[in-house]
């Protein structure tokens, strides 16, 4: 039976425990930023797909004017469907601001027409405005595409900031790991020198550090990703428990894409750790005879 041989590099010490914590924290932040970034893009996509093609026409006039306007809207090329909103619909829309049952019966409510543009149709808002003006109706056409583009730009910016944070955290991680590897190498210089003088090739010595830091990166990354998952789940739970208007928040869900982000984090952390260790060790060894 073979004897169990101790690893050539000693088991981790306090320095590696500190590095483990740092890599874990960086992975947590990177994974969480990744989740936020993806959620922001998902939210932008959801908003855009929801409002694209929807138009609201406000009619200042009588019920007859509203009926005329509806007929014009329905006849305008590019409009797939249109309907006049009745008082009940208007009250429902105003409810968040005025409260349930808070609308006096004699309060005049705007006449609204909800229209939906046909898929792929463009310039529908402009055509409607022109047609309604020709009919000398006092109307305002609200094309959702206009403000949804602003919303999209805002969420894109959030996503970009989160992606930049991921990149910055990744670069910081590489620097920290390289620094820690160098420190570990200095602390283990006696071992490195002895192996070197015993005839170990540089790749053999670097391999010892690569394996050590690969494992450290994967384990710390997995723990960081787990914490990011926990944080996301907590926020999701808190938002759903509360009475918040969650449609406006980034869609922080735990979907397949989120799972991919969480699953890749440890692998990326491991690969980065291994590469940083390899470069640092090979550079240090090149200074020896």
């Amino acid at each position: 039976m073979s004897r169990h041989l101790a690893p050539l590099l000693p088991r981790e010490d306090a320095r590696e425990a500190a590095l483990f914590f740092v890599v874990c924290a960086l992975c947590f932040l990177a994974a969480f930023s990744g989740l936020v970034s993806r959620a922001a893009y998902a939210a932008a996509g959801a908003w855009t797909s929801e409002v694209t093609g929807q138009l609201t026409i406000r009619v200042r006039g009588s019920d007859a004017d509203t009926a005329r306007a509806l007929a014009i809207v329905q006849a305008t090329p590019g409009v797939a469907a249109a309907r006049a909103l009745d008082r009940a619909d208007a009250e429902e829309l105003l409810q968040p601001w005025l409260g349930a049952g808070g609308i006096p019966a004699d309060l005049p409510l705007p006449h609204l027409i909800a229209a939906e543009a046909a898929p792929g149709a463009t310039g529908v808002g402009d055509r409607l405005t022109a047609a309604l003006q020709r009919a000398e109706l006092k109307t305002t056409v609200d094309d959702h595409v206009v403000w949804s583009a602003d919303a999209r730009r805002a969420t894109d910016t959030i996503g970009l900031i989160a992606l930049s944070a991921v990149a910055l955290l990744g670069a910081t991680g590489i620097a920290v790991i390289a620094f820690a590897t160098h420190a570990t190498l200095l602390a283990r210089r006696d071992i490195v020198e002895l192996l070197h003088l015993t005839g170990a090739k540089d790749s053999f010595i670097a391999g010892l550090f690569e394996r050590r830091f690969l494992m450290l990166g994967v384990q710390a990354g997995a723990l960081g990703a787990l914490f990011a998952f926990g944080a996301a789940a907590f926020i999701l739970f808190a938002v759903r428990q509360g009475d918040a208007q969650t449609w406006l928040l980034p869609q922080l869900s735990l979907s397949l894409a989120d799972g991919l982000i969480l699953g890749l984090s440890p692998l990326i952390a491991g690969a980065v750790s291994m590469l940083a260790a390899k470069v640092t060790v090979m550079r240090s060894l090149s200074d020896m005879v």
Partner: protein, 236 residues
């Protein structure tokens, strides 16, 4: 068998910065199967010369050849292959504290990629031979100075190297163990034609050995005693 020198120093010098040379114009030749002692006062540069010989230092002047190869022209992997042919007994032992005596001795074999089962018997026998058969699993911190030295010697000879370089190998052991260890070097030298270079202050050992003796003084190598057959080998 090739008569190519195992180790050759051609006017080798070593200095750090603008200060005095640690080694100046040192020349020597070690033939295959020779046994040579390196003597000299403390601070003469014996350890430095040995470090140059086992490729821990790079000379600032001159040329060092090992097994016929100019070490200054070799790539790192080729230097690593050369180091595998050299067994070194360091003055300060350089045992790894987190490894047992057995694992320390087996280190060069692990570096070579040999499976543990292939060397278990050899390593155990070697440690038994140096009187440490019952200390296989002992960590260096629990070993005495003499025991550490024996582990270091066992590690140096375990691969049956072509060249053994030892820095004060009997400095921390009693006379009887010193004699026994010297016999080990002698046996390797005679049986396997291993070239041996030993730096020592132990003049009694040197006299008993009847081997070639080099003396290091003022950074230069001077032949102090040489068996007749080797006298013509040292460069002027």
């Amino acid at each position: 068998m090739s008569d190519e020198p195992v180790l050759r120093f051609d006017r080798v010098g070593l200095s750090y910065g603008p200060g005095a040379d640690i080694l100046a114009d040192a020349s020597l030749v070690l033939r295959p199967g020779s046994m040579t002692f390196l003597t000299g006062p403390s601070g003469a540069g014996k350890s430095t010369l040995l470090k140059l010989a086992f490729l821990a230092l790079r000379p600032t002047a001159g040329r060092i050849s090992l097994f016929g190869l100019d070490t200054g022209r070799l790539k790192p992997d080729a230097l690593a292959s050369l180091r595998r042919r050299i067994g070194v007994v360091f003055q300060e032992f350089r045992l790894l504290d987190h490894l047992s005596a057995y694992e320390n001795v087996a280190l060069p074999l692990r570096v070579m990629g040999r499976p543990e089962a292939s060397y278990r018997k050899d390593v155990t026998e070697l440690l038994t031979w140096v009187g440490l058969g019952d200390r296989l699993d002992a960590r260096p911190e629990t070993l005495s100075g003499g025991e550490k030295q024996r582990v270091a010697i066992a590690r140096a000879v375990v691969v049956k190297p072509d060249l053994i370089i030892a820095d004060e190998p009997t400095g921390n052991v009693d006379e009887e163990m010193g004699e026994r260890l010297f016999r080990l070097f002698r046996e390797l030298n005679k049986r396997l034609n291993t070239t041996v270079l030993i730096a020592t202050h132990d003049m009694a050992l040197v006299r008993r050995a009847n081997a070639d003796v080099l003396r290091l003084a003022d950074g230069m190598v001077v032949r102090a005693q040489a068996p007749p057959a080797l006298q013509q080998d040292t460069p002027a």
